[in-house]
C-alpha cells in the first residue's frame, strides 16, 4: 500500500487527497487529507470516485497511426516521426499559422507551458489555446480589462467571512461542491444568500432571494441593481472616488435601467431587483460568485464587466469576504491560462504583441523571431478548419467533438483537416478523426502542478506507473520538440520545468516544487520569500485604478420563436464532468446518471403530453438529439436544460456557434429549441 498526496482532476476547487495504491500498480481508493485548507476532511462524490477511471480497460496504451483509413498500432518512434514529418510538410506548404495546438486544462501547468513553448518556439505560431475558451474566456478578458487580472479576486475561505453572497450562473453545490458547502454553512451561520439563476438549484432553497431572470439578461439585471444603488445613494463613494475611474460613464449608462425597465427584459418583478440591490449594497461584506451562467454568452464579456462594476460600485474588493469570484470549472483551467496556453499571451499573461516581452522569451528559449500576431482560438480554429484555412491540429487532452458548439460543424472541420494528432488517455469521439493517436498518462501517473480557481498552485504526484506504453504529456511534448531539432526542451522532471516557468513568469516567480511540497501557494508569488496572495487588489488594482466598463444589455443571438419556442441552456450535472471521458468510466458516477437527459418544466411537459423518463427529441436549427425527459419544477417554463456529457445524446449537436466578439466564447446558455414526443 502506498498513499500519494495529489490534487483532484475534476473541478477547479483544488481539493487534495491521497491516492491509495497497491503493489500491483493499481489504485484502490482515495483517502481524504485532514490538513488541506480547502478540502479539510472533505471530498465530494467525484473526488471519492476520481481514481476509478484510471484503471479502466479503455485506456489508450499504444500509439496508433491511420493507414489506409484504419488505425494501426505503431511504435513511439514511428508515431512521433510521422507526426513531425507531417507537421513539417504542412508548415512548409501552408505556413506556420496553418497548424494549431490545443492545450488542455486537464493537464499540468508544466505540460501547458511546454505546449505553448512547442507552438511558439518550435513551430513559430501563436495558434495555441485550450478549453478556457469555452468556459471563462470572458472572465479573463472582462476582469483583465476592469481590474488588470483575469482571475478570482479572493480565496475560497472568503466565503466563510462574507455577510452576503450573490451567486449567479453557478450551480455551486454540484459544480464546485466543496465551495457550495461553504456557502451552505455560511448561510447556516447567518450570511444572506441571493441566487440569480432560473433553475431551482440547491442553493436557491437556502436563498433569501431567488431571482429567476431570463437566460442572458444578466447585464440588464446588474445595470438595474446599480441604477437602484446609485439612485438611493448606496454606492461606496469613497471607494469609487479613490480606487476607480470612468464612474460617470457607468452612471450615465445605468440611468435608463430602472427596475421597471429591467423587469421587462429580465422577467423579474421590479421589487425583486430593488431588494437585491439594497441587500447587496447594504451588506458589510458582499461577494459575487459566478460561473458559466455569466460567461457562456455572446455577450459574456459584458456580463463579466457588469459583475465587476457592481462590486466596484459597492466597494466590495480588496478585502476578505468580498470580491468577484469566477469559479473555474476545471482542475487546471486557471493554470492553463496562467501558462499562456492562449493565443495572445505567454505565461503570466505577458502579451505576444509586445516586443520587449517577445525578446525576453526569445532569449530564455534560445530562439529568434517569435511570432507577434495573435493566433486562433479553439473556437475560431474550428471555423478556420471548416473554411480550409487551418490544415493541422495537435490536440492534447481535449475533446472538441463533444465540447464545442454545433457538433456537425466541428465534424466538418475535423474531417477537412489534413492532419490531426490526438493525445489523450481514452479513445474520445474526437480521436475517431485522428491521423495519429498518442497514449498519454493520467493525473495519477505523473508529477506536476495544477492551479486551482483561487490561484493556488498545488502538486500533482505520480502514484502508479502509466499503463502499457503510455507516456506523460510532458515527455511526449519534449520528445516532439527534440525530434524537431529544438534543443532547449529537455528536462529531468517536471520540477525543472516549473523552475523555468518561475524564471519567465513574474506571477509564478516564487513557485517551486520545494515550496509547494505540502501546501500550495496562491499567485501572484513573485519571489522565493513571497507568501502568496490570498486576496487580489488590496489597496490598489493590478491595473492601478479599477475601470468601470459601462455596458448595454444585448439580447442573445438566437432567441425562442414560434418554430423553436424553448430556450435551450446547457451545462453539467453533479456526477459527470465535461465530455464524460473519465466520469462515464467510473462505476458509481456512471450509474448515477446513465442517460442523456433534458430537464423540462412540469407544465410544459404536460402541455406536450410528455411523461417523466420518457425519451423525447430535442431539436434546434443545428440538429436533433434524443434524450430522456426529466420533468421537474426545478426549471422555469419555456426553458429546457441539457448536459454535454453524453456521447449518445450530445447537447453540443444542438448548441449555436455564436461567439462573444472579444472572448470568442460560445453561447452555450441560450439557443432556440423545440421538443417533440417520439411516436
Amino acid at each position: 500500500m502506498k498513499k500519494t498526496l495529489t490534487t483532484c482532476p475534476y473541478c477547479g476547487t483544488g481539493c487534495m487527497y491521497y491516492l491509495v495504491s497497491d503493489e500491483n500498480n493499481k489504485i484502490t481508493g482515495i483517502e481524504p487529507t485532514a490538513n488541506h485548507p480547502v478540502s479539510k476532511n472533505w471530498v465530494c462524490v467525484k473526488g471519492w470516485n476520481s481514481f476509478h477511471f484510471v484503471n479502466h480497460p479503455d485506456r489508450l496504451k499504444v500509439p496508433q497511426i491511420r493507414k489506409n483509413g484504419k488505425m494501426e498500432q505503431a511504435t513511439w518512434n514511428e508515431a512521433l516521426d510521422h507526426v513531425i514529418a507531417r507537421l513539417r510538410e504542412i508548415r512548409d506548404k501552408y505556413g506556420n499559422d496553418s497548424i494549431m495546438f490545443f492545450s488542455s486544462a486537464k493537464t499540468t501547468n508544466e505540460e501547458n507551458y511546454l505546449m505553448m513553448k512547442l507552438a511558439r518556439a518550435v513551430f513559430k505560431t501563436n495558434n495555441v489555446d485550450h478549453c478556457a475558451r469555452l468556459c471563462h474566456a470572458s472572465t479573463v478578458v472582462g476582469l483583465a480589462t476592469t481590474f488588470g487580472s483575469g482571475a478570482m479576486t479572493n480565496s475560497i475561505s472568503c466565503v466563510d467571512e462574507a455577510d452576503l453572497i450573490f451567486v449567479t450562473g453557478s450551480n455551486t453545490t454540484e459544480q464546485h461542491p466543496l465551495i457550495g458547502t461553504r456557502i451552505l454553512n455560511a448561510v447556516q451561520k447567518g450570511a444572506k444568500l441571493i441566487v440569480a439563476d432560473n433553475r431551482k438549484i440547491r442553493l436557491a432553497r437556502h436563498a433569501v432571494l431567488h431571482l429567476k431572470h431570463k437566460n442572458g439578461t444578466d447585464v440588464a439585471l446588474a445595470n438595474a441593481m446599480m441604477n437602484v444603488i446609485i439612485g438611493e445613494g448606496l454606492e461606496d463613494k469613497e471607494f469609487v472616488a479613490n480606487r476607480t475611474e470612468n464612474y460617470e460613464n457607468l452612471k450615465k449608462t445605468v440611468e435608463k435601467y430602472t427596475p421597471e425597465y429591467a423587469a421587462e427584459i429580465t422577467g423579474l418583478k421590479p421589487e425583486e431587483i430593488i431588494e437585491a440591490a439594497r441587500m447587496f449594497a447594504k451588506a458589510k461584506k458582499a461577494m459575487i460568485i459566478y460561473s458559466m451562467g455569466i460567461t457562456q454568452h455572446s455577450h459574456g464579456v459584458d456580463n463579466v464587466k457588469s459583475m465587476a462594476n457592481l462590486v466596484m460600485l459597492t466597494g466590495n474588493l480588496g478585502k476578505p469576504g468580498t470580491g468577484v469570484n469566477p469559479l473555474r470549472g476545471q482542475n487546471n483551467v486557471q493554470g492553463a491560462c496562467d501558462m499562456g496556453a492562449l493565443p495572445n499571451v505567454y505565461s503570466g499573461y505577458q502579451k505576444v504583441t509586445e516586443e520587449n516581452i517577445r525578446a525576453r522569451f526569445e532569449k530564455a528559449w534560445g530562439v529568434e523571431n517569435l511570432p507577434s500576431n495573435v493566433g486562433y482560438t479553439v473556437t475560431t480554429a474550428i471555423n478556420a478548419a471548416a473554411e480550409g484555412k487551418l490544415k493541422a491540429i495537435y490536440i492534447m487532452g481535449e475533446n472538441p467533438m463533444m465540447s464545442d458548439p454545433d457538433q456537425n460543424h466541428v465534424r466538418e472541420a475535423l474531417e477537412k483537416l489534413e492532419f490531426l494528432v490526438v493525445q489523450d488517455i481514452f479513445p474520445t469521439p474526437t480521436a475517431k478523426f485522428a491521423h495519429v493517436v498518442l497514449p498519454a498518462s493520467s493525473y495519477a501517473e505523473k508529477d506536476g502542478t495544477f492551479t486551482s480557481t483561487e490561484r493556488r498552485v498545488q502538486r500533482v504526484r505520480k502514484a502508479i506507473d502509466p499503463p502499457g506504453q503510455s507516456r506523460s504529456d510532458w515527455e511526449i511534448l519534449c520528445d516532439v520538440a527534440e525530434r524537431m531539432g529544438y534543443k532547449q526542451m529537455k528536462y529531468k522532471n517536471p520540477g525543472e520545468i516549473m523552475d523555468e516557468i518561475a524564471s519567465v513568469t513574474p506571477i509564478y516567480g516564487g513557485i517551486s516544487f520545494d515550496r509547494i511540497d505540502q501546501l500550495g501557494l496562491q499567485w501572484p508569488c513573485p519571489d522565493k520569500n513571497h507568501p502568496g496572495t490570498p486576496v487580489l487588489h488590496v489597496g490598489k488594482f493590478t491595473r492601478g485604478l479599477g475601470l468601470f466598463c459601462a455596458v448595454e444589455y444585448k439580447p442573445s443571438m438566437e432567441l425562442p420563436d414560434k418554430e423553436y419556442p424553448f430556450c435551450l441552456s446547457t451545462g453539467r450535472c453533479y456526477f459527470h464532468f465535461h465530455t464524460g471521458t473519465m466520469t462515464r468510466r467510473s462505476r458509481i458516477l456512471d450509474r448515477e446518471e446513465r442517460f442523456p437527459f433534458v430537464e423540462i418544466n412540469t407544465s410544459d411537459a404536460k402541455n406536450l403530453g410528455i411523461r417523466n423518463r420518457e425519451y423525447i427529441m430535442v431539436a434546434t436549427r443545428r440538429g436533433e438529439v434524443k434524450a430522456m425527459a426529466r420533468v421537474t419544477d426545478g426549471i422555469v417554463p419555456g426553458v429546457i436544460f441539457m448536459t454535454f456529457h453524453f456521447e449518445e445524446g450530445p447537447a453540443n449537436l444542438l448548441t449555436i456557434n455564436a461567439l462573444d466578439p472579444e472572448a470568442k466564447i460560445p453561447e452555450y446558455k441560450v439557443c432556440a429549441a423545440k421538443v417533440r414526443k417520439i411516436s
Partner: protein, 332 residues
C-alpha cells in the same frame, strides 16, 4: 504489566514486521494521520482516532472478488500472505469492528472480508493520548491487546491468546503502571453523546420525527457520500465487472445509500428516490432499523461522519437537532 515508551512500541512493531502486514498509526506526507506500514510515514500514536474508515483495513474501498481469463476457471481472490496487525483503533472502533464482524458472518459468511479479518490482530490505543491531550475511552476488551497511555508511556493489556503472545514479544523498560486510575478516568468520561443518540433513536422509533425534518436536513446534503465512506459500520458495496485484455475482473467497491442510483431499479422505479428519504435512511438505519434488526444501535459515536460532513449534518449533529426539537413534544 508492561509499560512501553513510543520508541519501545516502534521497536516492537519492527520486530513483528516480518510476521505481520502492519497497519499502524502513521503520519502521511502532509501530516494527515492514517493506518499503514512503518515505511509509509512516522509512527503517530498520539492524537486519537484515525480519520479514515478504520474498518477499511478489512473492507477496502475497492477489492477484487475474482478473475477469469477468457474461458478459464474462475480464480477467487487469495488472502494476503501475512496476517494483518492493526494498531490504533479506538475503543469505539473496536465496537464497530465487533459489529461488522457479526454483520459479515451472520446468515452468509462473507469470505472476502474474513480472508483479511481471520488471523488479524487488533490493538486498541487509548488513555491519555487523544487529540489536544484528551482522554480516549479504554476498551477493556473487544480487541486482542490494548495500549493504554498514562500520559508518557503505554501500558499493554492483553485480552486474548494472540494478544498475550504479542505482549510477550514487547520489550518494556518499565513493568509497572497505574491502570486502575486510568480506568476510573475512562469510566468518568461524559456520555452526553450516547444519551443524545439513544434519545434520538427513541424519538425516531416512536415516529416523533416528522418528514419535514428530513426534507430540511436533506436540503443541506450534497450527496458527497463522505459520511458513508468514513463510517466504520457502513458496509454497503457495489459490484461490477471489467474486462482487461480478455480477462474478466469482478470487483466490489464502497457504495452509498445517499445516492439516487443506490436503489434505483432498471425500470427507473426507486424506493429511495428522493433526498429526504435517503437522508432519513442514513440516520434511521443506524439508530432505528438496526435497533430492530440487531437489538442495538450501530452508531458507536466515533464521530467520523460529523468530521467528514462538509455541511454539519453528521449523525451526532442531526441527533442533537432531533432531541432539541422533538423531545419536548414527546414529554407532553
Amino acid at each position: 504489566m508492561k509499560s512501553l515508551t513510543i520508541t519501545e512500541i516502534e521497536q516492537f512493531l519492527k520486530s513483528v514486521e516480518p510476521e505481520f502486514d502492519l497497519r499502524v498509526p502513521i503520519r502521511l506526507h502532509d501530516g494527515t494521520r492514517s493506518l499503514g506500514g512503518l515505511n509509509e510515514g512516522p509512527l503517530s500514536l498520539m492524537g486519537g482516532k484515525i480519520p479514515l474508515k478504520p474498518t477499511s483495513v478489512f473492507f477496502p474501498q475497492t477489492e477484487r472478488v475474482f478473475t477469469r481469463e477468457s474461458d478459464g476457471e474462475i480464480k477467487m481472490e487469495k488472502p494476503g500472505e501475512k496476517p494483518i496487525l492493526v494498531v490504533g483503533y479506538t475503543a469505539e472502533d473496536a465496537d464497530c469492528l465487533e459489529f461488522i464482524d457479526k454483520f459479515f458472518s451472520e446468515n452468509f459468511r462473507d469470505d472476502l472480508y474474513f480472508q483479511k479479518r481471520d488471523g488479524s490482530v487488533i490493538m486498541v490505543v487509548s488513555g491519555k493520548c487523544g487529540p489536544d491531550g484528551g482522554f480516549l475511552k479504554i476498551a477493556g476488551g473487544k480487541c486482542d491487546l490494548e495500549l493504554i497511555c498514562d500520559g508518557e508511556r503505554f501500558i499493554a493489556q492483553a485480552y486474548t491468546e494472540k494478544g498475550r503472545q504479542l505482549e510477550k514479544k514487547m520489550k518494556a523498560s518499565k513493568e509497572v503502571g497505574d491502570i486502575d486510575s486510568l480506568k476510573k478516568m475512562s469510566d468518568e468520561l461524559p456520555d452526553d453523546d450516547l444519551k443524545t443518540i439513544q434519545k434520538a433513536s427513541e424519538l425516531i422509533l416512536a415516529e416523533k420525527v416528522p418528514d419535514a425534518f428530513w426534507v430540511e436536513i436533506g436540503d443541506r446534503c450534497i450527496a458527497c457520500t463522505s459520511c458513508n465512506y468514513a463510517c466504520p459500520t457502513c458496509t454497503c458495496f457495489e459490484v461490477y465487472d471489467r474486462v482487461h485484455d480478455g480477462t474478466t475482473v469482478r470487483e466490489r467497491m464502497w457504495d452509498s445509500c445517499q445516492l439516487d442510483g443506490f436503489m434505483r431499479e432498471a425500470s427507473g422505479h426507486n424506493p429511495m428516490g428522493t433526498e429526504d428519504i435517503r437522508t432519513r435512511r442514513r440516520i434511521h438505519h443506524k439508530l432505528a432499523a438496526d435497533v430492530t434488526r440487531w437489538g442495538h444501535l450501530t452508531c458507536y459515536l466515533c464521530g467520523r461522519c460529523d468530521d467528514a460532513c462538509p455541511t454539519n449534518i453528521g449523525i451526532k449533529s442531526v441527533s442533537r437537532m432531533i432531541v432539541e426539537r422533538y423531545s419536548q413534544a414527546n414529554e407532553k
